[in-house]
Amino acid sequence: MKIIVTATAPELEATVDPRFGRGAYFVVVDTETMRWQAHANQGVNAAGGAGSQAAQFAAQQGVAAIISGDFGPNAYIALAAAEIKMYLLGASKTVQAAVTSFAAGELAQVSAPTGAGHHGGRGA
């Protein structure tokens, strides 16, 4: 299964980034093979629409789940529409640790936006 973990650097050992739309990097990991690839988040400095942009990227990558610390209203609605599951980082410190905890079923799934949103964040 392909998943995304938001990270502060483009590495498997990188510290996680608690923000989804504004996270520095998306590390795409295949949980079966542990092959991974990091992508810089193009929406880091976007004036608005970072959440919807990030969700679009996740959908294009064909991931089944995302692990991050915060999902705003726009991101939540877009990811839910794309049927991408959202999980919270919990105590995970690194991308690797988050993937391990996810595989062990230890991460909490999100079923509502976790933040009030930022610029233009009232959802569709």
């Binding site: 608005g48 629409g49 919807s52 726009n74 877009a78 529409a81 964040g121 569709a124």
Partner: protein, 294 residues
């Protein structure tokens, strides 16, 4: 003649300056005609407050409407062209679904234009209201008020200017544009097209930091700038040094005085609190008009 009043930093005294400038021009010098009658536009659509000082009576109203895309799911092939063209990520394609985030939409119409299936139609979405009327001393006054929760100030400011300014400009009058704080899109929209930009600042590190940014915006827009230092006497001399180095004239200094602060807090304008400012504002406007060659 269009004079915009902006600041970068919020709370430096934009509205204090803009409203007193308007009143000073409307009064005219004692015993003389009014050579530069003002028109006032409150462009801070997220927090308009000039009405507190100029007490307008509104006679005309119009909704601020932007066109939001609606996607016909039966026609949409999820090709993604709309999402590609959207600068604001207001329309996204997720698998087979196309979603519209109306709060992010600027109503530019690009998605409708590029859709090869003709699957996108547009529907009006009101985000605020424009109001116009007459204020103190007969000053024509207009403002925009963005609805609470709407994040898009820029279209409201654009429509306010289109609605309230005649196509041939404010003929024979001085249009005063009271801009929002900051240096981002809403400020650019408010000051765009102005003949002159008054930047109100305070002599503090925050004031200087944002003055620098605001001056860069003005340079980018090629609008001549003059600086007004409010709360003069506090802070340090760094704003003076910056203005000298950047070649920005300091047109007026308003001292940090309790009487002024108390008066403004009671809803009185600077020229009502200290009437001697009226002639200073008129002289400043005259200087700007001459400098701008208008």
């Amino acid at each position: 003649m269009k004079i915009a009043v902006a600041s970068g930093k919020g709370g430096t005294g934009k509205t204090t300056v803009a409203t007193s400038l308007a009143l000073s021009l409307a009064m005219g010098a004692p015993g003389q005609s009014v050579p530069l009658p003002p028109v006032f536009l409150d462009c801070d659509v997220e927090g308009p407050n000039a009405h507190l000082f100029l007490a307008p009576v509104f006679e005309r109203r119009q909704d601020v409407v932007i066109q939001i895309p609606r996607v016909d799911a039966a026609k949409c092939t999820a090709c993604g062209k709309c999402a590609e063209v959207c600068q604001y990520h207001a329309i996204v394609v997720l698998g087979k679904r196309t979603l519209v985030f109306s709060q992010l939409c600027h109503g530019c119409g690009s998605c409708t234009l590029v859709c090869p299936e003709g699957a996108i139609s547009e529907e009006p979405h009101a985000i605020g209201v424009l109001e116009a009327g007459t204020a103190a001393r007969g000053i024509p006054f207009a403002r925009g008020v963005l609805d609470v929760g709407e994040p898009m100030a820029t279209p409201a400011i654009r429509q306010l200017k289109q609605w309230a300014i005649p196509a041939d400009g404010p003929e024979g009058r001085v249009l005063i544009l009271d801009a929002p704080p900051g240096t981002s899109c809403p400020v650019v929209e408010a000051v765009r097209g102005a003949d002159y930009l008054l930047l109100v600042t305070e002599p503090t590190p925050f004031g200087l930091h944002d003055l620098r940014l605001a001056a860069e915006v003005a340079a980018e827009l090629r609008i001549p700038v003059g600086v007004i230092i409010n709360r003069d006497g506090i802070g340090d001399a760094a704003v003076d040094a910056f203005c000298a180095a950047a070649g920005l004239p300091i047109l007026l200094r308003i001292p940090f005085e309790r009487a002024i602060a108390e008066g403004v807090a009671q809803g009185r304008t600077l020229v009502e609190i200290q009437p001697e400012y009226a002639s200073r504002f008129r002289a400043m406007a005259q200087q700007i008009v001459e400098q701008a060659g208008l």
